[in-house]
Amino acid sequence: MKAVLGLLAGRLAISTLVLAGVSVLIFGIARVIPGNPARIALGPNATKEQVAKLAAELHLDEPIWIQYGHFVRDLSRGELGISLYTNRPVTTDIAQFLPATLELVLIAGILMIGIGLPLGMVAAKYRGGFVDNLVRIVSLLGVSAPSFVWAVILMLLFAFYLPLFPIAGRIDTEFAIEHVTGFLLVDSLIAGEFRAFGNAMWHLFLPAFALSLSGIGQAARLTRANMVETYEKPYIEMARSYGFPAWRIARRYAFKPSLIPSLTIIGLDFAAMLGNAFLVEAIFAWPGLSRYGVAVILRKDLNAIVGTVLIISAAFLIANLIVDLLIALLNPRIRYARSAR
């Protein structure tokens, strides 16, 4: 346990440094994107004086290091400035839009693990056979087509031709759920509104499935490859010779060691979905942070760009941290190696 806590402390320190580096980088990059943010925000009819006034309010007329100083000062107070896109504090926007994206990504992640890993296990168990080939085709389809293509196909199949699922928004308007956490699944349970929970889940399914398909394919392929390799190990042969049932060998002896390399990729996929959710959010009119992030980049909304990128970076770091901890817990050699040092 001590080794795991040490690992956690080390990773947290590094993550803080990485976040600081990201903030400097994105702060600089956002300012070299062409376009005058004040002019874009105020429109073509605004006078030069109006544009200059807004630019001064945003400190855009000051050197970049002074601007960064303002940013750090605001950040220390928990502020990220005003978004020129929504005319609201960026923190308000993030608080409103982040839960929608997190909820979508979490459900997509659950689908990725819940479908991808078993598919990989089945494929490895029946390697070379019909099931293996079927899983291979499904996996390749998932990996090769981007999630927005799946989003459109799923919408066509299950909303246009077979009107089974809703395709816009997070919940039907008839449900007035009080926002406590911003996660509608949680808020509806807090309110004891089980119909609302079901409705939110119904709205979530298609976008989450579209988003998870690539991850499902990747998880299935990786799990299969790792398990096939593990099946060749002598201790599996020994388990077979003892006459252990095939599923016990698969679950207990082949799956666990095969999970470690898959976990790293799954963790990265999970974090990447936060950024990649943009097109799925756009197609399903999902009011999330990824869609917001792209919109603010197109409008050169500096404060919002920096705020959004920092949040997505933090999510990446947290996902990596969790994966590292899980791997340390699953693999005793990593724990012991750290203790020995």
Partner: protein, 526 residues
């Protein structure tokens, strides 16, 4: 038997409940994100839809013709640069507060101080004064003939409500209620804001205390959704989950929806689509080269590119620099057409040899239909021996590049709209030399005659005087081919059957002002 009776009773009760729920008339429309609720910051189409429904203005555009009619103001008088308005005494804000002259003064001062949105329309307002509870006087610093039309962009805000909800800021007025009004309504309009998520949707409900009668057929609830993708809208309409599409759908999707039996709704007379020719860059520093392009362009084929159905396109034939229906416009039947011989003759007179130059035709990355126009123009120019290249430019890059004539492409494609319906707001920003360097003025035009005619249009005291000034301006802009006047804009929406929108389907009921056709109180939902 008893069980069966109970079952029937339960089913009947459920059916009754469902009918009650269905009895509410809901209108679902969409627009691009993001919807800005604060009327002092409203500038684009979605903002205007919110503004015209949540707030009221002193005057309204006359339906079916030019001019303005009283709205919050009962009457008005003009004396020189002073305008005196007599206000209605029966108007209440959605909060229950009565509307008075103080609210008008506050709204103007708020607009001017915040300095965003369409506040540029009021830079000439020198003073505003409440003479009594229902009389207000506005004095201008100089003659500005389109002032009355500008007032359709001055929504009257509930002063008492705003003062009770001031946010953080400096001075007595702090933030002028910006934080509050960006999330809540504060007007007297026919619809009240029920919920607002600037990236998702705004839900509005009918204002029972509205000072004008509203039809029972008008929607009880309106859901204005933001940023829906074309595929999503197509599916939602097919599912019966959406009523009126935005104007931004690709023509193919509109065509598909129309072929499914949906109706076409249009809004016109508010602006035009232009090829803007950079007059500061060779070869377009020579008027003959510009005229060669204007004559070579195939206007008829261009309209076919945006045709939605037989006889209905996202534009109507252009007659010149001013959209049909505005002061100074040419008659509707005097449409521009291609003249290849004329193009060649002008090219022969141009001081630049076509063999020595290639022009850059740009299109805005966010408006894919412009690529088709770029290809058409390229083909048209090739016929008279002008070489060209096509460049895709993201909006943010374009709006930055256009600040200098050197970085502005030879040809820029843009839709420009008169925000008040008056030609001044269509033309001044494009062609006055002091306005050069914004996306509207990619021509970087510097023509003293154009400048003086634009100024004459602003200062003429009679409609006849304005008509004369703008007619002369129209002729001048055509003579120097400042732009290619591709087509008059006709905004096309697709509506579900059973939705009746007179202002978007009957020219006699049209307002001639962008987004005013979406005054929800005038829409009927069957």
């Amino acid at each position: 038997m008893l069980k069966l009776t109970r079952l029937v009773a339960v089913v009947a009760a459920l059916a009754a409940l469902s009918t009650a729920a269905l009895a509410e008339r809901v209108l679902r429309v969409d627009e691009v994100a993001v919807g800005e609720l604060d009327p002092a910051k409203a500038s684009d189409y979605a903002d205007s839809m919110l503004m015209f429904n949540v707030y009221d203005t002193l005057v309204l555009p006359r339906q079916g013709g030019p001019g303005h009619v009283p709205h919050l103001a009962e009457s008005w008088e003009q004396s020189g640069n002073d305008y005196t308005f007599k206000l209605r005494s029966d108007v209440k804000f959605q909060s229950g507060n009565s509307m008075t002259a103080e609210d008008v003064v506050f709204s103007m001062e708020r607009m001017q101080t915040i300095g965003q949105g369409l506040s540029f329309l009021f830079v000439d307002v020198e003073s505003i004064e409440a003479l009594d509870a229902h009389t207000v006087r506005i004095s201008l610093s100089r003659p500005y003939a389109p002032f009355l039309s500008s007032l359709v962009r001055l929504p009257i805000v509930d002063k008492a409500l705003v003062m009770a909800n001031l946010g953080e800021g400096e001075g007595e007025m702090k933030d002028w209620g910006q934080a509050y009004l960006s999330a809540n309504g504060g007007g007297s309009g026919a619809y009240m804001v029920e919920s607002h998520n600037p990236q998702d949707e705004t839900v509005m409900v009918k204002n029972p205390g509205y000072f004008l009668p509203i039809s029972d057929m008008a929607p009880d609830r309106v859901r204005l959704r933001y940023g829906l993708e074309a595929a999503t809208v197509r599916t939602l309409v097919a599912q019966g989950e959406h009523d009126i599409t935005s104007q931004w759908l690709p023509p193919e999707v509109k065509r598909a929806l129309v072929s499914d039996g949906n109706q076409i709704l249009t809004e016109g007379g508010t602006g035009s689509f232009y090829f803007k020719l950079n007059s500061q860059k060779a070869p377009f520093d020579d008027v003959h080269c510009r005229l060669a392009v204007a004559n070579a362009y195939d206007y008829t084929s261009g309209l076919k590119l945006v045709e939605i159905a037989e006889g209905v396109a996202e534009g109507t034939p252009s007659t010149g620099a001013i959209s049909v229906g505005m002061f100074g416009a040419n008659p509707a039947d005097q449409t521009l057409s291609r003249d290849l011989d004329g193009a060649k003759a002008h090219l022969a007179q141009c001081m630049h040899d076509p063999a020595d130059f290639s022009i850059e035709i740009s299109w805005i990355a966010e408006v894919p239909v412009e690529e088709r126009f770029a290809l058409l123009l390229q083909a048209n120019l090739a016929e008279i021996g002008i070489k060209s290249s096509i460049t895709k430019i993201p909006w943010a890059v374009f709006s930055s590049n256009v600040e200098s004539a050197e970085n502005t492409p030879h040809v820029s494609q843009l839709f420009v709209t008169a925000v008040t319906g008056d030609p001044d707001t269509l033309l001044w920003g494009q062609y006055h030399s002091t306005a050069a360097g914004t996306w509207q003025s990619a021509e970087h035009l510097n023509d003293s005659e154009v400048d003086s005619l634009l100024e004459a249009g602003r200062t003429a005291t009679t409609d006849e005087g304005r008509e004369e000034a703008y007619a002369a301006l129209n002729q001048r802009l055509q003579a120097i081919a400042a732009s290619v006047y591709v087509f008059d804009r006709q905004t096309v929406f697709v509506g579900r059957p059973g939705i009746n929108v007179p202002a978007l389907s009957d020219p006699e009921m049209a307002f001639g002002l962008d987004s005013m056709g979406f005054a929800f109180r005038l829409i009927e939902v069957e």
